[in-house]
Amino acid sequence: MTHAEKLIRNMLKGDKRATARLLSIVENGLPQAQEAISLLYPHTGNAHIVGITGPSGVGKSTLVEKLVGEIRKKDQTVGIVAVDPTSPFSGGAFLGDRIRMQSLSTDQGVFIRSMASRGNPGGVARATKDAVKILDAAGMDFVIVETVGAGQSEVEVMRIAEVVVVILAPGLGDEIQALKAGQMEIGDIFVVNKSDIESADRVVVDLKSTLAMKTTKDGWRPEVVKTIATTGAGVDELMEKILEHKEYVESTGSEKTRRRRVQNEIESILREKAAEHVMRLLEETIQFNEIVEAVGALKKDPYTAVDELLLNVTAKPKKEGEA
């Protein structure tokens, strides 16, 4: 029995240490990662995957704690993946989301994992998606992914979610502007948190007018919910909206939505693997070095160089009968 097989067998028996080890394997992109995912993939598909995103400090983690409280009332289990940015200077990270989730820390129906983005947008998206699969296979009824909305990689991470909750709070200046490109488009539910602060109502009005004509890819009209995460006010309504959205998607063709998600994932893995594969092929050729030199000496531009290289790689395994 391989190491990955052993870990998965133990995880399926409820061993949290095994779950934690599997998460490390995909996080570090270790060689066993692919084997592990392929073994546990048949066990996935049970969890409802909720993405939570929004600018730094709006109360995402505080809200997650309260939302998990709601889920636990229904006696369902929750896995949480909390992603924080890696410092571009040191490569280290301060992962502090657990500070706001203390009431969950010994709940046996909850598993929390903090992850650093490690500076590679594609990498964090890949690792997060695999982490979600592991928690899903471990039997969690819900998996919540928290990321700070800072750019394209978050949008990519959120693609795995079946419902995306975008959180705002008053006091960010122009709140709607603070949502980076793309976030407005990916939200199924918008939360105005910190609504104990007066100017929250203005944010709600702005948000509603921005969203007025919008529908998501599934034809869903985005909802706006007001919360006070510190007291839990409004969190029951947020939970209701999440379930309403789930019902909506299920009643209007979740197969199509699922297909889109799967296709998207296959495409992104394909892109990654194809690039790696081509690079490996090219690095072994003398031609690669020659072309690098030619571009360096301004004898060729880099685009033409890449076209030539690709032509060479793709033309290589000639089948019989082909020119």
Binding site: K16, R17, R21
Partner: protein, 139 residues
């Protein structure tokens, strides 16, 4: 160590003391040294700390304690870790711990104790040395 690997550290504050400046200084120094630091906040019970260390699959558990309750809290933590098969995690303690208590703590599974005079550089150096030599032994 594989290139993608980062040293993961849980910095935790067991006991009832009400400020965590020291713990945060340590957390920041370890982050600045390229480690991934999980911080869980004040007033953590041994159960909370061990559960977090397990879920986060950390290499190092750094405990900061000022309250004087180290002789009960620290063995409670290492005891739980042993129960859960986590003896491979490097457990360090810092804060105000009298010298005469150190041998007893080491017997309970605390790898080392760092007094108030320790610089963060020393701590970083120590952790790197331990984790890297461990990684070599596994190879």
């Amino acid at each position: 160590m594989e290139s993608g690997m980062k040293i993961r550290v849980l910095v935790a504050k067991p006991g009832l003391d009400s400020h965590d400046r020291g713990a945060k200084v340590v957390a920041r120094a370890l982050r600045d040294a390229g480690m991934e630091v999980i911080y869980t906040g004040l007033r953590q019970t041994p159960e909370q700390i061990v559960e977090a260390a397990l879920q986060e699959d950390v290499d190092v558990l750094a405990l900061s304690i000022l309250s004087g309750a180290h002789m009960t809290l620290l063995p409670a933590i290492t005891g739980l870790m042993e129960e859960r098969g986590m003896s491979d995690v490097l457990v360090l303690a810092g804060g105000i711990i009298p010298k005469e208590d150190i041998p007893m703590l080491k017997e309970c599974g605390i790898a080392d104790v760092f007094g108030p005079g320790t610089t963060t550089d020393e701590l970083v150096h120590y952790i790197r040395g331990k984790i890297e030599s461990e990684a070599k032994n596994l190879e």
